[in-house]
Assembly symmetry: C2
Homo-oligomer: 269 residues x 2
């Protein structure tokens, strides 16, 4: 596959991943020719955006160079088994935690193209600098999927399924838990008559500093100062939000323990 431009892609699924990935591939000169989704509203909307056709049934699947299974992890394998793909179809999933062999056992040309990013339906995210992890069972397939991924990001990395699962876990922690902290923070701010948006410049700087300086050198706050009286006061203030109170306690205990260990190690140097 010397020239990837002009190749055709079918998306099975029309969620957040399908939206961002199809927009990126389209911009790179790949033809998104069909969206297959039982959800008529989402499927038609994405198909319209791509100038593609929309099918609700797997029976009506078009002939294409690539098939993206843009589906929840737990249905990827069963949907792959239920579709009659053309012979030699190149079938790809984009999951962080599903093993390659769930597809490579079914198709000679199978691969994984996993962008380390969070997707929400209707929200198109640029993939320009997003790490995309690729995997395939044969050298030829890996070369093709690497070329494909290289059209949409500057950062393509070949890894195996185990490594991808480790990366996925880091992504869950960084993304899901930070977002959850902001959700609970939102409740706290609202309960006190303030908008979450007051925290926006702080969060922007927190993330910027962690990556520029390193998170271990960026830690501030009462727990890292071993200021247990402020920690105790904060725990009491959170009495009406028990979920946030519990997380506050676990975080503070952990930060205090780590700080004490660091101080102890520093005295031994």
């Amino acid at each position: 596959m010397s020239n990837i431009q002009g190749k055709s892609v079918v998306f099975i699924g029309a969620g957040g991943l399908a939206w961002s990935l199809s927009v990126a591939l389209h911009a790179a000169g790949i033809r998104v020719i069909q969206i297959v989704s039982p959800n008529i509203l989402n499927g038609q909307a994405l198909a319209k955006k791509m100038g593609a056709t929309h099918a609700t049934s797997f029976k009506d699947i078009a002939h294409a160079d690539f098939y993206f299974l843009a589906l929840p992890d737990r249905v990827i394998e069963s949907v792959a088994k239920s579709i009659s793909f053309p012979p030699n179809a190149f079938v790809i999933h984009s999951s962080g935690s599903v093993y390659l062999n769930s597809l490579s056992a079914l198709f000679p040309n199978a691969g994984v193209l996993y962008p380390l990013q969070t997707f929400t339906r209707g929200r198109v995210v640029s993939l320009d600098n997003v790490p995309i992890f690729v995997e395939a069972a044969t050298e030829q397939s890996l070369s093709i999927i690497t070329t494909l991924a290289s059209t949409i990001t500057t950062n393509v990395i070949a890894i195996n399924s185990e490594q991808r699962r480790n990366i996925h876990l880091a992504g869950v922690i960084a993304n899901n838990f930070t977002n959850y902290l902001l959700e609970l923070g939102d409740e706290w701010m609202e309960a006190n008559g303030f908008s979450l948006h007051l925290l926006q410049p702080l969060m922007a700087e927190t993330v910027k500093k962690a990556f520029e300086v390193s998170p271990s050198l960026s830690q501030t706050g009462p727990a890292s100062r071993l200021d247990t009286s402020v920690v105790e006061t904060h725990l009491k203030m959170l009495a009406n939000l028990p979920e946030l109170q519990k997380l506050y306690g676990v975080f503070s205990d952990s930060i205090i323990a780590k700080t004490k260990l660091r101080n102890y190690n520093d005295t031994k140097k």
Copy 2:
């Protein structure tokens, strides 16, 4: 104080807050005339940057319009008591959790100017859009400190000490805990041979989406999908990092409980 430009400021302390605040005030046309800090290296470096003098002793304090106690919370009151300020000195602290009356009981002109931001020594952060919360005991003092804060940010908000403590707690949660997640994430990535920097585009989008869409509508991941088999797998994968494993468990339990409650409430609508 009809014209704030050209007024003079003394900083007591030369840490991260003093650096960013003095740079911002200087840029706004306020004269930073002296840095008082027993730490010769930090105090001299900041004084040089400001074209100010440096004093190591509180006895040598200069005459100025404003005095900033840029100090750790627990020493603000005792240091304020130990300094012979000129009569009618306007004395200000920048702490999120110290009550105004720890200064206003000592000085007729006292105030709080609290920027909701994280500061690290040697790293100057722009305050242009950072919310700055102000407080003072008299209307006249509040007017003056509002004018002063307005020279360095577009977002000045007058609140009382209790409200400020609530905002400070939200800041600790958003900043300290997110940074700590990244610190533990860094350890996990390193243990698996990857760089934390692979998570940078994901974290940037996570924070952007939470503020643009709302965190409760942005939540993704296995816990919010009630995919307990992936949660169990992740907990096993983290066996060698018990602190991260514990946080993973508490977060996932909490997200699962919140999701179930939301689903239950949705069925009642």
